[in-house]
Every structure is written in structure tokens, then in C-alpha cells.
Symmetry: C2
DNA sequence: GCTTGACCTGGAGCCCGCTCCAGGTGCCAT
DNA sequence: ATGGCACCTGGAGCGGGCTCCAGGTCAAGC
């Protein structure tokens, strides 16, 4: 415990973010994370900021954004403040896709529930309807 | 137009269901569809029932069910009415996963919208906050 | 009778997003 | 000083779900 100055080992970050060690390394390799700081021995030490960024990545991934587009977002972010409007546009477009996703999910879920209801009717009466 | 007796060519089915020709053939190959009827020339002719089943497949796929599990469902269906309770259980379990999916999507979407709001604040005031 | 187009088959290939591996280094506790 | 463990690297491999291809068959229209 020599540093309470908010750095985290790969293991801790994996634990906290739910990404595997391999995935964290992979994301750094492809440039989705910018190069993570290292200690004297060459081991990664993540900052609070890295973890925040990983939180964003987690949101985008979980909502189905492909890596290529997350890379685009990462690049914009690296380019500084003059890209904020582009970032807003990107996130809004994504938000719309998420909305569509939810709508589709709900629609299909309704159909599945209808099927369940139909099956219940069949077992309920003890005789097949189709 | 020799048959109005409800059979459909692969092209028509692809059109209607949104599955590609290759995907339809693939699904038949792996047993997700049972063997599709053929005309004299060996070309597939889908029935209304086939199309109905494809509708179910579409629901399950769009809600993220893996093919392996759809195969299990297909197998149960083929085995007849005594598997209906199992089918209900399978669909209910899936329905719960869909519910969780939607909840997760909504949660992440909220975070994304917050980020958009934050970015708006930044461009709005013309000065960065982070 | 010839072209065009929709279809057929078996099998190879592809993309995505990781995941695993071998071989090696360094820190820490006993 | 020795063992164990967390970590390192570059590169290969994998699983899921299609997608594409070559080479061939038939049917209908010009």
C-alpha cells in the first residue's frame, strides 16, 4: 500500500469493470484505451480517469455499439474539445438505435408472451389446438 | 401462377421474413427448419407453416437467443405435445432474459443521455468542464 | 435454340470480439 | 533464497453466425 493516489492494478480494474484482463489488454492494443501508465516493472497502473472511460465503453458496448464506432468516438475524444459537437451527434445517433432496439425487443417479447399464453391454453384444456 | 395453394419460393420467403437465401438454407441444414418440401425440380417450396415457424425464429433471434437454444426448442416442438410444458419453461426463461436485457439497455441509455447532456453543457457555455 | 435468372449443392471463407498460450519478469511472504 | 502469484508480450486460435463461391440444373421468354 504505497500509493493511495488512485491507481489500480489490472486485476482490480477487471474486477471493477467486468472486463477481463485479456479484454483490457486487447482494448489498449487496438487503441480503444490510450496507452495505460506503467510502474517501474512495466506493469499497468490504471487511473481513475481510465476507469471512467471504461465505464463509457461499457455503456456503449452493452448497448450494441460496434468496436469500430467506439474507436471513432475515442478518436474524437482524443482530438479535444472542438469535436464535442461530433461526439454529441454520434451519441445521439446511437441513442436512437438503442431506442429502436428496445422497441423491437418489446415487440418480439409480446409475441413470445402470446406464444406462451397459447401453450398455456393447450396444456390447460388438455387438448391441442395446433 | 399454377398454385394459389400457399407455397412460396425461397425468394418470396426471404423477402417476407428478412432472412437471406443463404440463411434459410443454413437453418435447414442445421435442423432449425425441418426439411423443406421440394418441387419436381428439387427447388424448395415453403408452406405457410414454414413461414410461421420462421416468424417464431425471428422473434427468438431478435431477442438474442443463441442458435443452440433455438435448436433445443425446435427439437421439443418436433417431439410433440407432451413437450409443451418444457417449451413454456424455455420461453419463460428466455422472456426473463429479455426483460433483463431491456432493463440493462435502459440503464445504459440513461448514462449515455447524461453524457450527451454533459456535452451540451460544455458547448453551451463555450468552456470546458473536463 | 439461346439467354437469363432463380434455384441447387458442398464446402470454404469471413468478420467480430475476444480468449488462450508459451515463455518470461518482478514483487512479496515465508 | 525460494516459491507463488500477478503481471508482461506477441501471436495464434476460437465460436458464433452467417456469407460466398464454383459449378450445375431447370424454365420461360425472345
Amino acid at each position: 500500500m504505497l500509493s493511495r493516489m488512485s491507481v489500480y492494478t489490472p486485476g482490480q480494474v477487471a474486477e471493477e469493470t467486468g472486463f477481463s484482463l485479456d479484454t483490457l489488454r486487447y482494448y489498449e492494443r487496438i487503441g480503444l484505451l490510450e496507452p495505460i501508465g506503467r510502474n517501474a516493472a512495466g506493469q499497468r497502473r490504471f487511473t481513475q480517469e481510465d476507469i471512467g472511460w471504461l465505464g463509457m465503453i461499457r455503456c456503449l458496448r452493452d448497448t450494441g455499439m460496434p468496436i469500430a464506432e467506439m474507436l471513432r468516438f475515442a478518436e474524437l475524444t482524443r482530438q479535444g474539445e472542438h469535436t464535442i459537437r461530433d461526439r454529441i451527434a454520434l451519441l445521439e445517433a446511437h441513442d436512437r438505435r438503442v431506442e429502436a432496439q428496445v422497441a423491437n425487443l418489446r415487440e418480439k417479447q409480446t409475441a413470445i408472451r402470446n406464444k406462451i399464453g397459447y401453450y398455456r391454453g393447450v396444456v390447460g384444456t388438455g387438448r391441442g389446438l395446433s
